[in-house]
């Protein structure tokens, strides 16, 4: 479908302890995205914010940034989820025929709260919450299950961290560009076996904004806009014990929907570059499988082959991914922004040559309960 285009993107540099306030970060990316699109705030006829009250430490957090996003006089809605879901809402607004240009803004100040306490609150207060489960140790349960079911090794997971932190060295927005080895990852401090410090993503503050437009506006103003070719999303069961944590059924379904809409039959051959939500190293391997880039249980062999490296057939996370910057609410939207830069040929040192089809992916909930997949092209 060539009905909705992404005509502007902006990101802050991701860092721990960004001294800007929520609103200042939202304003920075709103202004830069408008500049990128060559628009003024008067051209925006609706906005979508992506705020989560727990992460932001305030109730109805979205209402505190209406001025910063220029949205206090236009229709504005909040999506409480990953930034990709904000983009999904934005695209639906345009497809409804009611609006022409949507601004989507996501921001997180992860360093202001205590991530483990906030992610502990994901879990059912009547049941598992009292076990002290959080994003790290719940993911450790998933990583162990994935490794034992499919014979994936800690070394293979570590390779993802080495690749993505190295890629981050070419991304000026990245929080954690690092030159590390597999050995460094394996010898880093064990947080929750088998997850080590360098298998995890950093505590990052930052914001991302994208501007989307309907085809008439996009075609009139821009010579070669980036189009949304397909979107799919799907969620799995809430309780960890209801799922086989080594499986990626919801992502398989989300990807199938996105590929079907985009007319993609052979994702590995047809997709040139992918930005996926690798909150932990092992997740990139699982998401490769769910996205159909390899078979079930073959994520380890795929990273071994070098196929997802910068010089491989399908580079994954040229930006350094979420492992190199994890501004929670904004992290999925940043995947879309990076995919757009790739398709414009403006990704500078992290550019994948000749990219014409890109995939961006976001997750929400514990252990990738929900997935949202975008296929973009130009």
């Amino acid at each position: 479908m060539d009905e909705v285009a992404i005509i502007g993107v902006a990101q802050t540099r991701y860092q721990r302890d960004n001294p800007a306030s929520h609103a200042e970060m939202a304003y920075e990316v709103t202004r830069k995205a408008l500049e990128d699109a060559g628009l003024t705030i008067d051209d925006i006829d609706n906005t979508v914010t992506v705020c989560n009250d727990f992460w932001d430490g305030r109730t109805i957090s979205c209402m505190t940034i209406t001025e910063a996003t220029g949205s206090h006089k236009v229709p504005t809605t909040n999506v409480e989820g990953d930034g990709t879901y904000g983009a999904l809402m934005g695209a639906m607004r345009l497809l409804s025929g009611l609006h022409e240009v949507t601004l989507v803004v996501a921001q997180s100040k992860v360093s202001e709260g205590i991530p483990a306490v906030i992610t502990n609150a994901m879990f059912d207060p009547v049941y598992e919450r009292s076990l002290g489960l959080d994003a790290i140790n719940s993911s450790a349960l998933q990583m162990r299950r994935y490794m034992s079911k499919y014979g994936i090794t800690e070394e293979q997971c570590a390779k993802v961290s080495v690749k993505n932190h190295k890629n981050a060295k070419s991304n000026p927005y990245a929080h954690m560009p690092l030159d590390i080895t597999v050995d460094d990852v394996l010898k880093s401090r064990v947080l929750a076996d088998p997850i080590k410090l360098l298998d995890t993503s950093p505590v990052s503050d930052g914001a991302c904004a994208i501007i989307m437009a309907v085809d008439e506006v996009a075609k009139k103003r821009y010579s070669k806009p980036v189009w949304i070719r397909g979107i799919g999303h799907c969620a799995d069961a809430y309780h960890l014990g209801d799922r086989d944590l080594a499986e990626v059924d919801a992502l398989v379904s989300a990807a199938r929907r996105a590929y079907s809409m985009a007319g993609i039959q052979d994702p590995v051959r047809e997709i040139d570059v992918a930005e996926v939500y690798d909150a932990f190293s092992y997740m990139e391997l699982m998401w490769m499988e769910g996205l159909g880039f390899c078979g079930r249980g073959e994520g380890g062999a795929m990273i071994d082959s070098g196929m997802t490296g910068m010089n491989g057939a399908l580079p994954v996370n040229p930006s350094g991914g979420v492992l190199s910057a994890h501004p929670v609410q904004a992290a999925g939207l940043a995947r879309i922004a990076e995919a757009v830069l790739q398709l414009r040929g403006k990704a500078d040192a992290r550019q994948v040559e000749g990219a014409t089809v890109a995939l961006a992916h976001g997750i929400e909930g514990a252990c990738g309960q929900g997935h949202c997949v975008f296929v973009l092209g130009r």
Partner: protein, 158 residues
């Protein structure tokens, strides 16, 4: 009074430390209430069984999330089961953790259950824990009707 340069730090901006206090009371629902009652009064673990797919849910559910059907059949499951996965939490997060780290967590598929139960592991050294091992529930002496009435799962020695 002027803000000191120390308060402004090297970014020239202030930080405002505070704390959110949020008392809250959750209803456990019909299924959750009976689940806890059985554990508290009889040290028995009960689940519910879907009439269509036959899946036994522990903790019990009143509707089958797969079939979207009401469930009213209650079945007792074993207090022993098989360990599907585990981790040892080695970092400290004051206020949310049931024990001082390191402490072990796992997902246990109880005998007769379809779903896994996430819980603590005890009476075992971290290096001796294995996926696939048999474990058994240890109940607290004094039970209050909550998740930690099961103290932990210990290795089942045959």
């Amino acid at each position: 009074m002027a803000v000191s340069s120390e308060e402004l730090g090297n970014t020239g901006t202030l930080k405002y430390p505070s704390r959110i206090r949020l008392p809250y009371t959750w209803h456990a629902g019909k299924a959750g209430s009976r689940f806890y009652q059985e554990i508290k009064d009889h040290c028995k673990i009960w689940g519910t069984k879907c009439p269509r797919c036959g899946w036994v849910y522990v903790p019990p559910r009143e509707t089958c999330p797969r079939c979207f059907l009401d469930i009213d059949e209650w079945v007792e499951v074993g207090d022993a089961g098989t360990l599907l996965t585990y981790t040892i939490t080695r970092y400290s997060v004051p206020g949310i953790q049931p024990h001082e780290p390191p402490y072990a967590l796992g997902i246990i598929k109880l005998d007769g259950a379809g779903s896994g139960l996430v819980h603590l592991l005890g009476e075992i050294e971290p290096e001796d824990i294995r996926v696939g091992m048999r474990v058994q529930a240890v109940f607290r002496e004094v039970r209050e009707g909550n998740y930690l009435d099961i103290k932990y799962f210990k290795p089942l020695r045959s």
